[in-house]
Symmetry: C2
Amino acid sequence: MKRAEKKGHLVDVAIEMFNRYGYHAVGVDSIIAEAGVAKTTLYRHFETKELLIAAALQKMDEQFRVDLRTFSADASTDPLGQLFASFDFLESWFSAATFYGCPFIKAAGEYNDTNQIFQEVILHKRLIIAYFEELIRAAGLANPEQLAEEINLLHEGAIALAQVTRDASVAQKAKAVARKILIP
Amino acid sequence: MKRAEKKGHLVDVAIEMFNRYGYHAVGVDSIIAEAGVAKTTLYRHFETKELLIAAALQKMDEQFRVDLRTFSADASTDPLGQLFASFDFLESWFSAATFYGCPFIKAAGEYNDTNQIFQEVILHKRLIIAYFEELIRAAGLANPEQLAEEINLLHEGAIALAQVTRDASVAQKAKAVARKILIP
DNA sequence: TTAAATCTATACCGATCTGTATCGTTAGTC
DNA sequence: GACTAACGATACAGATCGGTATAGATTTAA
């Protein structure tokens, strides 16, 4: 592995473990052991564990939004179709073996007072809503702000329910509600 | 304080701290210090920390469902009105200073592999859905199972969003969506 | 009043936590 | 090929983790 890839690999390993066990539950010793890296190396790239968590959230945010856009674009050329496809994206996410609930809500639940981490969560959610609003405007629907928030509401609900029920079909149920909202 | 009340007080203190900081983040030493109780006392009532968490979840489940039923009954005599009132209940919860997101989703995020805790979460969510279904049946609406799941979807979404945005008005937005679903 | 149960206080256990220090080795760059 | 920066390995620091042991004080129930 090249030097430049080490930092990225470290974050990838951290992401996987944080998602599975939670942020406090995973110690840096476990991460370096899993990544096959010395402790000194980790702390050269990230001053503190919280900064590693922040970096993990940033990477997940980017990955999630890119993957969502790609998935929707592949599913439909129509903006409204892309908005509906976002629920299919959720379904595929829920079906993955690596799904353990929303890593951002999880982070907000464990670090609601540390600004560094909480701000990353807020930023991510804002960007997701912005994407929904973008699609709704492109579709020419009325009240794009309000509708985007409502779609986001359904997304968050589906993610939380899927985490508990471990049933990927909640994504389609949320999609059905979205249909009622968007196509009156 | 009477002896019998000590266990209850211990759970109350634990609930407050778990909600605020998370489950892993709060150690038993912090709990006993805040409760003004010796460590031996805690471990006489609860064999392990996980059992204390399970007890906290049980108490929160009962409190939440009783409070929800009471709030809805006070708000309306009509089952459909009570169902809508459940979103007002959420709003008052979100407005409280002690709101730090859903303690059950938080627990599921930190202990998704320990059955003891995760099962409490599943049970709570099932009982909430059952209550929604009960109201919908009383209202004489069609597809009560499906509608109950959709209302629950909106509840979960509102809770998750309120945790991040710290804006209690998302409850009313969820209520507006519920209106679109229930009154076509 | 007496005996059993529950309490407080404290010290302790081994493990783990985040983070640092040291040092020899490996790799990329000029 | 030499310089330099990043690496691995290890030991260590001080704090905290969940949980136990012990002993004395206090309360409850017979």
